[in-house]
């Protein structure tokens, strides 16, 4: 049995320690907001936070997450009201939407570590998150907007 703390809740799951964390999240804990994209850490669709870092859950073994804090898109905020989530809605960032939970989870680490990022900072942080619909300009715009809202006190 492996002990996981996901979105503030403790779980004890019966899984092979080698199982990718993504499998445990989606198939065992039914947290399907995190997406499977490539399975080889190339696309970023599966990004979740592991002790605050934006790990790719498709290549992170569930044993690595044992005893540590996992946050998925479902747990990023209490009411889907993280500045990034609100900015994503305001700007209507997604097209197909598949990559965006990973995009938002990566952007959340950026804004935590750099509350006022430049375009270059955004590129450096987000270059590992691929969007086949090409929504990159809107992603950048939304991150700037979220940064501005965050500076005003975590809201609009």
């Amino acid at each position: 049995m492996i002990s996981l703390n996901v979105n503030g809740e403790s779980h004890s799951i019966d899984a092979d320690p080698e199982m990718p964390l993504l499998w445990a999240l989606r198939d065992i804990l039914n947290l399907t907001g995190t997406k499977y994209g490539c399975g080889v850490a190339q696309c970023g669709a599966c990004v979740v936070h592991l002790d605050g870092e934006a790990v790719r859950s498709c290549v992170t073994k569930v044993s690595r997450a044992g005893g540590r804090k996992v946050i998925t898109i479902e747990g990023l905020s209490a009411n889907n009201d993280h500045p990034l989530q609100k900015a994503w809605q305001e700007i209507d960032v997604p097209q197909c939407g598949y990559c965006h939970s990973g995009q938002i989870m990566s952007a959340a680490v950026l804004l935590r570590e750099n509350p006022n990022p430049t375009d270059a900072d955004i590129d450096a942080a987000m270059s590992g998150n691929i969007c086949r619909c090409g929504t990159y300009p809107r992603i950048r715009k939304a991150i700037h907007l979220a940064a501005a809202w965050q500076a005003k006190g975590n809201g609009r």
């Binding site: 870092e53 934006a54 790719r56 690595r64 950026l110 570590e113 450096a124 270059s127």
Partner: protein, 201 residues
């Protein structure tokens, strides 16, 4: 006549001495490694050429890039998705090395190789290998100001560093360095213990 001969001899001695100085300065940089009895510039420089063949292989040079993006693959191309070095050499923001690179290699081709200490040299001492000649790299490695503050003891110990040794466990589909680890370590020790001389070029 005698005086003229004496002058000629003195001039000859001076020219010979100058010649020795020129040869030494152009061929080797003396580094106070190894006792006088163990110093051997020829053996040392020869050993370094073996070391160099390993350090310039993809397994080493890929994480000692000239720029701030690591290299990858057998052709040492810039790493896909352009991860940045960061101040500590461990990446930036959502693009930190350990976000993809686990503590161990993952099975299968094209999967991220792993090591518990995966990183590049830090921004304040980049320890670049890419593009360096044998001489340039040897001089860089023997200078604490450019080698990560390593004295002779630490330099010798560096051959046992987990990330260095990890070069011989590169994961599926990646070539090993051109020497075995044992051969590399032997050449590394020989180079340092015989004086850590730099080759001529």
């Amino acid at each position: 006549m005698k005086q003229a001969t004496l002058h000629a001899r003195k001039a000859g001695v001076i020219i010979a001495l100058l010649g020795v100085v020129v040869v030494l300065s152009s061929s080797f940089r003396y580094v106070p490694h190894g006792s006088a009895s163990t110093r051997d510039s020829a053996v040392s420089a020869q050993a370094f050429m073996k070391v160099y063949s390993v350090l310039m292989s993809p397994r080493c040079v890929n994480c000692h890039p000239a720029g701030d993006v690591p290299l990858q693959g057998e052709l040492s191309q810039p790493h896909a998705m352009s991860p940045q070095r960061g101040d500590d050499g461990k990446g930036v923001y959502a693009m930190k090395c350990a976000n993809c690179h686990q503590a161990v290699n993952l099975p299968g081709p094209h999967m991220p190789p792993g090591n518990p200490n995966w990183h590049l040299p830090p921004a304040n001492m980049k320890m670049v290998f890419q593009g360096k000649t044998p001489r340039e790299l040897a001089l860089q490695l023997t200078n604490p100001a450019t080698n990560g503050n390593k004295d002779k003891k630490k330099l010798l110990e560096h051959a046992d560093d987990g990330l260095v040794v990890g070069g011989w466990n590169p994961g599926e589909g990646r070539a090993l360095p051109p020497l075995s680890y044992a051969e590399f370590k032997k050449a590394w020790r020989t180079w340092i213990e015989t004086g850590a001389y730099a080759p001529a070029k």
